[in-house]
């Protein structure tokens, strides 16, 4: 992201609450955002909503998911788990070699009629590892953004939450760090290998359970690491 707004961020399945919140925050930070949806009109409407919020300077547009893949090599996936595999298989021909996919999927049991405070077992270990299995060769996957409250993302306040990034690819991790640090209040933390996404995804279900129990918008902060472990946006 050192090239500023010249590299568009495509948010696949971006019309849901998490995708909209991320789009809002990144557009506000001056990034060019493509909201992707199965339905082009829905994507355009979502982009229009964000422009209404932050004004005409916002570089946000809405396109069909495969057009978003064709137009960008930074892809953020924010779909319910039950749609993840189908969408990735469908988009496989559209995803460009060298793209980076940042997966925020959580296998909540709610997706199959269970509770949002419980998760499903995923054969590969986590939704992010499933994504890594389904992307074309030459595409790197990072796991991030599971534990940001969609409701708070869609607001105006700085967040009080850290984003742990897991990836087996250093450049994919770097892109995720940079995107996380563009959200006010967020610190990005290197969480190591993609397999560690298992725990990140479980934490989402725990936070949803806390929200139901205590009526809040829970997030997590990691304490006790040296300052260099926390990556925050450098103020210009």
């Amino acid at each position: 992201m050192s090239d500023g707004a010249s590299r568009a961020i495509a948010i696949l399945g971006g019309t849901g609450p998490a995708g909209m919140g991320l789009a809002l925050r990144w557009a506000r930070a001056g990034e060019t955002v493509l909201i992707g949806s199965r339905d082009q009109q829905r994507a355009k409407d979502a982009a229009e909503k964000i422009r209404e919020k932050i004004g005409s300077r916002a570089s946000v547009s809405g396109v069909e998911n495969s057009a978003a893949c064709a137009a960008s090599d930074i892809l953020v996936l924010t779909v319910p788990f039950e749609g993840q595999a189908t969408l990735l298989k469908q988009l496989k021909p559209a995803i460009r070699t060298g793209s980076i996919l940042i997966d925020a999927t959580v296998a909540l049991a709610a997706g199959v009629g269970g509770r949002a405070s419980r998760t499903l077992g995923v054969w590969q270990g986590s939704a992010a590892q499933q994504a890594a299995e389904l992307v074309p060769k030459g595409v790197s996957v990072a796991s991030a953004f599971h534990n940001l409250s969609a409701e708070l993302l869609n607001g105006d306040e700085a967040l009080d939450c850290d984003v742990i990034v897991c990836s087996d690819d250093a450049s994919a991790a770097q892109v995720a760090f940079a995107l996380a640090a563009k959200i006010p209040g967020v610190r990005a933390i290197d969480g190591g290998k993609l397999e560690n996404s298992r725990t990140l995804e479980q934490i989402t279900a725990l936070l949803i359970g806390l929200n139901i129990r205590h009526k809040g918008h829970a997030g997590i902060r990691i304490t006790g690491l040296p300052p260099a472990a926390y990556r925050t946006a450098v103020k210009p």
Copy 2:
């Protein structure tokens, strides 16, 4: 714990770093602590170390694990996972009906020659649920204290970490809340049912991974909940 120091806290397997740290903090808070070990002499030596740190006013003694169970109805279990089932089976006749067992066990893969940043699958779902299966009838289990750095517990500073408590029994949860809130800096949070311990235990492995990667003593804070969700010690 409303009866102050009159109800002893038995820490089973309490001579390890986590058990010693909890013993130190609770003894400092004026609680009566029984450090349990397989080896009575080792338990006595551990208690002596704590008295050396905090002085003769400390009410800490060391006894064999089954003697600790016979002498107390608040049992805190801090053993490596690979010893948990064997110890609970062995202690079954010694654990008093009506006792509360607070389990802090994490099934780290390190226990079977793997990595401390990975966990084992436990048939029951979590180590705490395994404990619940193994205790005698009439004994309630809560899950807590997994995510406190043993190194920081053994120090003098306030901790910067929350303790999420999971239990199917309201009174077991209350005892765990009260014990957590006696540790300076710690806030206790009701995490719901015992099954949610699955995630608490995974978080420990994540924090160990962060410690290895970033050379720190990681903990977690939960943000975004209303003030009533955070239970802290009432200052006298």
